[in-house]
């Protein structure tokens, strides 16, 4: 399939600048990565409301907490690897526990960071964030959805974690697509099996569905952009109506989106299932495509997983 490749970060920067214009309560903090996360766009437009904290993510999270406690809506950005594990205690104690209105929007998540290698390829951030009470966890599917997510979370109160990537990603939605945090959109109807993806893997699920259709398999595709709170209704309905589920995520299969879906299904509607994702190992340097292939994140991996589930369905 041919999709336009576009940057999620660029849309984040654009949405932030618009929010800055619309609302005086928006402040933005970054940790010396603003030109990469694109908060630099906001910094250029509203220098008095942008705060570079230097390479001090712990300090940045707590400073944001002080802003939020004073009635500001604080957007905090850095790379996903530094904006989660490195300051987990700060996020837990000063953001999630007091339920402060802070939006942690991080870029360069997952293995598609590429050449920087395992030190920068966080594959466990969804796991870290989704176990925190009060935390909303969102993985926008593409560039336009990133824009919609940022605009949407600015309106809601409370802590939120938004994960975007470094690489340009296929644009599979358009301006008319709506974003509702409580609703996982069905991207393609189908009755034989359900492919549930998040982020960059949704487009791969759509490609896999196309491939499966050549073998007479009618696959449904769900964009599970919000891992928490999860749209359990859509997931359970899909399981009930199609009888099998494959999840696909650019994240460790340990406690990521697939595990979250598995928990919902185990307790609600038991169907054969397979998780496509990064196995329980660290990544390495390489080109995006090479890494996706080595770590099992290709269309073929999804198709293969679907066949496995279909076999077990019978």
């Amino acid at each position: 399939m041919k999709w336009k490749m576009e940057s999620q970060r660029k849309q984040y920067g654009k949405a932030l600048v618009e929010l800055g214009k619309e609302r005086g309560d928006i402040v933005v903090l970054d940790a010396d990565l603003s030109s990469s996360t694109r908060t630099a766009d906001f910094a250029a437009a509203f220098p008095e409301r942008f705060f570079n904290c230097g390479i001090a993510e712990q300090n940045m999270m707590d400073t944001a907490a002080g802003f939020a406690a004073s009635g500001k809506t604080a957007f905090v950005s850095t790379f996903a690897v530094f904006g989660t594990g490195r300051c987990y205690d700060q996020i837990r104690q000063s953001i999630a526990y007091p339920k402060l209105n802070i939006k942690i929007v991080v870029s360069h998540a997952g293995i598609t960071v590429g050449g920087d290698g395992a030190s920068h390829q966080i594959i466990e951030d969804i796991a870290l964030m989704r176990v925190l009470p009060n935390m909303t966890v969102i993985v926008p599917v593409d560039s336009p959805e990133t824009y919609r997510v940022v605009k949407s979370i600015a309106k809601s109160k409370g802590p939120c974690y938004v994960r975007i990537g470094r690489a340009d990603v296929p644009t599979i939605t358009d301006e008319n697509t709506k974003f509702d945090v409580n609703q996982a959109p069905v991207m393609r109807e189908g009755k034989d099996i359900t492919l549930i993806g998040c982020g960059i893997m949704v487009s791969k699920c759509l490609e896999a569905a196309e491939e499966l259709s050549k073998h007479g398999v009618d696959a449904r595709v769900v964009n599970l952009h919000t891992i928490k709170p999860m749209d359990e209704k859509t997931i359970v309905r899909a399981a009930r109506e199609t009888g099998g589920v494959v999840t696909a995520e650019e994240h460790s299969v340990m406690m990521g989106m697939g595990s979250a879906v598995a928990m919902v299904l185990v307790e609600n509607f038991h169907v054969p299932m397979k998780r496509v994702g990064i196995p329980d190992v660290f990544g390495e340097s390489g080109a995006c495509d090479e890494l996706m292939e080595k770590y099992g994140l290709t269309v073929d991996n999804i198709v293969e997983a679907a066949h496995d589930v279909l076999r077990r369905k019978k």
Binding site: A56, D62, T63, A65, K72, A74, Y97, P98
Partner: protein, 279 residues
């Protein structure tokens, strides 16, 4: 030094004694808590809530109030005591500390307790949170001030120094930090566990205005705070030399009472020394 009315100072000292009394009572009845560090900071808390800060217990969310952040969250009993004495909630409620369903959690929770500005407990967070409040105040051109109380053990925490750098970088002259320099942390004397000295020089090197005082002397606390208010373009830290467990003879300078409730006998003696009744 300014001259203060003797009666006014002695009233503040009485308040500090009440904070100590409440703290020991609360911890005794809860069966756990941190008496040592609650007693060492009682004088600073009394001065802040009964003289220095502009606040209104009837309106805990008044936007122009001064903010206080207890970075050393384990001194929660002392904070609750001063908040109750100031009128944020009934003094009777203090006995619910650490009990099921209580608004008074073992460590401060901003969403549960009126008057608590920031949830703390994990050490080293408070100064950065205070900085965020100070930046917000400057952004809104508000004149209220931010007061943060840190323990000296928190000087071990890297984030303390990140926050020190940020406050100085952003010229946060609306921030005043107090360091409860009682020289003891859980495992032993600070200089043995992780040496902090020369502490004043460190803060000076980070661009702060530094004042050192006897943290149990009410006049010195007020005077130093007034000096801090006059400092422009940089934050002020007041290193308060204190005695851990101050006010209860057998707790003073004792490591034993960092995080342990007194026994019945110890409790009765503490009440006698602090002039309270055993209830």
């Amino acid at each position: 030094m300014e001259v203060y009315d003797g009666e006014f100072i002695s009233e503040l000292e009485t308040t500090a004694r009440k904070i100590r009394l409440h703290s020991i009572k609360m911890i005794y009845h809860a069966g756990s808590g941190h008496p040592g560090g609650s007693l060492s900071c009682a004088d600073v808390l009394a001065a802040l809530y009964f003289h220095i800060m502009k606040h209104d217990p009837k309106r805990p969310d008044w936007p122009d109030r001064d903010r206080f952040v207890l970075s050393k969250g384990h001194a929660a009993p002392a904070l609750y005591a001063v908040l109750a004495e100031a009128g944020y909630f009934p003094v009777e409620e203090l006995s619910s500390l650490r009990k099921m369903g209580s608004r008074l959690q073992g460590h401060p929770c901003m969403n549960k307790t009126p008057g608590v500005e920031m949830s703390t407990g994990s050490l080293g967070h408070g100064l950065a949170a205070g900085n965020g409040m100070a930046l917000a105040a400057k952004l809104d051109r508000k004149l209220h001030r931010i007061y943060v109380l840190c323990g000296d053990g928190e000087m071990d925490v890297g984030e303390t120094w990140e926050a020190a750098m940020l406050a100085s970088h952003y010229k946060l002259d609306n921030v005043t930090a107090y360091i409860d320099r009682n020289k003891l942390q859980l495992d032993g004397p600070t200089e043995k566990i992780m040496s902090l000295e020369p502490l004043a020089d460190k803060w000076k090197a980070f661009g702060w205005h530094v004042i050192e005082i006897n943290g149990h002397n009410m006049k010195e606390i007020i005077h130093a705070t007034n000096e801090a208010k006059g400092v422009k373009g940089r934050p002020t830290v007041i290193i308060c030399h204190t005695i851990k467990g101050k006010g209860v003879s057998y707790m003073e300078g004792s490591l034993h009472f960092h995080g342990k409730a007194p026994s019945k006998q110890e409790y009765e003696q503490a009440m006698k020394e602090l002039g309270g009744d055993v209830k």
